[in-house]
Every structure is written in C-alpha cells, then in structure tokens.
Symmetry: C2
C-alpha cells in the first residue's frame, strides 16, 4: 500500500481531503479508471477550476496522482488516477497517529485560564 501508517499530520490531511462529497465522487469516478481534468469535470458536473482545486487537495494528500501527457493530436492532457491507499481507522490506531501530531499541543503553550 502507498501509505499504511501515516503520521498524525499526514492522516489529518488525508481525512480532510476525503471529508467532502465532491472529492468522494472524484475518487469514486477515478476508481473506475483514469481520466483527464476537463473530461472528469464534465463527468462529475462541476466547473473545471473547481475540480482543479479539489484534485490539488487530493494529490497533496497522496490520494490521487496526476501525470501530464501529450495526446496524439498534440494537446496536453493531465490524467489523474487513484493511488492504492489503504487506511484502517480505529481508536487505537488514531491514538498512535495522534502521538505524532506536530500541531500546537496546547499543554506546551501559555496556560489556559478558565473562569472559576
């Protein structure tokens, strides 16, 4: 698998990327075979710039992979495909990932003051 035990930060990025209906549809569509941006946009029914943004998000998380290719008639086509990620989410697995989080651990910052 591409990433079986991501760090806490990687995991958050992957989960955030997947937690969106449109991006879920993109993954679902690409799971049926690779496709290029403009066609995929028509397929899913969203604007190309919007799809572009979502693909960026998915690629940054390592869930899809894009490759620029030249078609026979010389046009630049960017094909995307899903990577073979495999995430197993349980409480203990999340606890393991959380231990590697680099995000600001509030206990190390200035003390919280709660109204008494």
């Amino acid at each position: 698998m591409t990433v079986a035990r991501p760090t806490g930060d990687e995991l958050v990025e992957m989960l955030a990327a997947l937690a969106n209906p449109i991006r879920l549809r993109i993954i679902a569509t690409l799971a049926g075979g690779r496709d290029y941006v403009s066609h995929l946009a028509r397929e899913i029914g969203i604007s190309r710039p919007l799809l572009h943004m979502h693909l960026q998000r998915l690629e940054a998380a390592g869930l899809v992979l894009g490759s620029l290719e030249l078609s026979e008639d010389g046009k630049a086509m960017k094909y995307f495909e899903v990577t073979d990620f495999d995430l197993h989410l349980t409480a203990s697995e999340l606890a393991r990932a959380a231990s590697t989080l680099t995000s600001p651990d509030p206990r190390k910052g200035p003390p919280r003051k709660e109204q008494t």
Copy 2:
C-alpha cells in the same frame, strides 16, 4: 463494530470529525479510558467550551458517546468514551460509499456553463 459500512453521508461526517488535530487528541485521550468534560479539557489543555464543541461534533458522528452521571458528592459529570468504530478506507470502498451520497449531485441540477 459500531458502523462498518456507513453511508456516504455518514462517512463524510465521520471523516470530517476525525480530520482535526484537537479531535484526534480527544479520541487518543479517550482511547486510554473514559473521562468527564472538565477534566478532559484540562488534560488536553483547551477551554471547556471549545472541548464541548468538539465533543459534540465527535458524538454526532458516532465516534464518541457521552453519558451524564452523578458523582458520589452529587455533581453532574458527563463522561465520554470512544465507540468501537472500525473504518476501512480504500478507493473501492469509498466508491461504494460515494454511490449513496445524498448531497447535491451537480449532474442533476442546472447545467454548468463553462467558457468555451
């Protein structure tokens, strides 16, 4: 397991709930044993209202469960614990989930017009 094959909507909600460092820490902490709100807030190092919001989000997604109990000295304590969720995320599993999404399928709305 609590929810092994959630619908697309449920999955999006669960993923969104998990895609946050603080909520990941909450899950991790609760994975070590149940705890009540005020103590958990001190443990993690965030304000109680903020924790309250995050717990709401997690509980709505079915990832934690809260139960109001009375301590020996009569105080109302809300204890939270993690549910035994088990999510398996692969492209094909996501494709299955995506097929049950109820969110606006753009292809059924008014046609997109892209600059030609």
